[in-house]
Symmetry: C2
């Protein structure tokens, strides 16, 4: 049996696991990310938590084939540098030089959204498919693409930034500095923003946030929908229409076999998937003639990132400096 | 020397050429498309014009390696049928069965926008590149993508419909039935529409269309810009901003080495390329950190479609029924 280490690096936690060749996570370990510390300290803990996962599996480093790492960033294959990791304030970090002395295994580093879609494709909701688009509807919108079973990330490995494509010409200012990105509307933050724009007093949603718009949270919208609040129904309907238009764009371009939705907003599964399918059917080019892909919720949860990282040697992009 | 026949089928003309292995068109022939006639009659002329090109080259069918055809449609690889060719009113036509008895060569059929980008990549503006996005700014917006030197058209061969991705949520009604497609804004038709919305009397542009808004044409905008008309400058600036946002989306997804612009609007080359580069730099995700691709005007002109069709055997997608 082959084993690989998968490490999911987030702004809050470092989550590691040992993954077997069937894509099962056979052990877990976690440490706080400790953002704000030096690169030396954080990378040391990245190694430490990975070794903890190996120990928890009752195995040793010699049993491991590779060390795969998902990070909220990209390694530029031209330079071998991690372009930016906003959660740590890193810019152009020679990440391999920090990591290589710590664990003597082949190291693969990939964007975390790409790891998530790869994990879902290897062992989750998209297990039967070779061509998959995944959107993670969290604080922001993460996007990942699998083409022919492998991560696709643009010709230079720095693309497939689905969340930062624009659907709203001169729309809301986005965290990325652009305007009208999908991220600013289809994320939990975007839903909250839309709700703030549409909220009126005297509604259930207004009660849920205790008559203080600053206390409004995205999940209150779906709560209020379930309680039958008409304003919330309208907000949610608009949100679904926006998300459907975004998904329709990616279908028109990639024609994947499956579209997978993850992240916090996707937890509203009963309210999400069926109405969304209908709207995607209506707002996708030539859907009547050629149909739309399968649409599913992510299944692998937090493990998707660990699994995806662990299988990077097999299905990833070579991001090492040539 | 290897030779292939390339045939570019449009709603107005059937244009054929013999293409040598260097991607040069060594002979031409053309016939009217004769839209409205039967499939039998039109396909017979498709063969006739192709044989005329062979004769004009001083060669015979035995010197030809393949027959490549670009059409404003797609063959669905699952069914082997031409999905639709609006200019002829065709739907789900078993096109190979019509063509195979006419010329005994391997036949390859591809969307015309894909042929154009392939032609530009083999022997035109994108000759040095392996990853290319091309937009044809004609009556509509055609889009084609080359990844690793080959046509990319979505997982099922029916995608990469760049012109029918949406940039304007709930924007203008598009010819495809959707709303807010790039096609409805960045095409010559879209530019005309924007000009109609912004045109006021007492302007040079108003004079150019003889004070009759129905006579307004897209090229009058760039004419009026060159004459210093302020309203036309504003219309053109908005058009460029919209086009830049569209291009920025495709860069964020594909990170190609080059973006090629063709079609009628691209003929305004002096007014187009330099201001557009600046706007693309401003409206593309992470452009400051990782740059933007080369942006060039198409070079191969009408020959791009012929060349692209002729090299389909080498660089196309297998669309034959499996």
């Amino acid at each position: 049996m082959r084993y690989d280490i998968g490490l999911d690096v987030g702004g809050t936690n470092l989550s590691a696991g040992v993954v077997d060749e069937e894509g099962r996570v056979i052990s877990h370990a976690a440490l706080p990310a400790g953002a704000g510390r030096s690169i030396d300290e954080i990378t040391a803990d990245m190694a430490k938590v990975s070794l903890m996962a190996v120990e928890n599996a009752g195995l040793t480093l010699r049993d491991m084939a590779s060390w795969g790492i998902g990070m909220p960033s990209y390694v530029n294959p031209r330079t071998g540098l991690l372009v930016h990791a906003n959660c740590f304030g890193w810019r152009n970090v020679p990440i391999y030089r920090y990591l290589e002395p710590l664990i003597a295994l082949p190291i693969y580093i990939e964007n975390d959204a790409n790891c998530a879609v790869l994990g879902e494709t290897v062992a989750g909701a998209a297990k039967d498919f070779q061509n998959v688009v995944m959107l993670t509807l969290g604080t922001g919108v993460g996007g990942g693409i699998i083409l022919n079973g492998r991560i696709y990330s643009g010709a230079d490995g720095l693309g497939a930034e689905l969340g930062h494509t624009k659907l709203f010409f001169r729309g809301r200012k986005c965290t990325c500095g652009q305007m009208g990105c999908i991220d600013g509307y289809c994320s939990a933050r975007g839903l909250k923003e839309t709700a703030k724009e549409m909220l009126t007093d005297g509604t259930l949603l207004w009660d849920l946030c205790h008559h203080d718009i600053r206390k409004l949270e995205a999940q209150m919208v779906t709560e209020a929908v379930q309680l039958g609040d008409q304003t919330a129904v309208e907000i949610w309907d608009l949100y679904l229409s926006q998300l459907a238009a975004a998904i329709g764009n990616f279908i028109a371009i990639f024609r994947p076999e499956a579209v997978i939705l993850g992240g916090g907003v996707a937890k509203a599964s009963d309210l999400l998937l069926n109405p969304l399918r209908k709207k995607v059917q209506e707002s996708t080019f030539a859907a009547q003639e050629i149909g739309i892909p399968e649409m599913r919720l992510a299944q692998a949860g937090n493990d998707a990132g660990i699994i995806g990282a662990a299988v990077l040697e097999k299905y990833g992009i070579d991001r090492r400096e040539k």
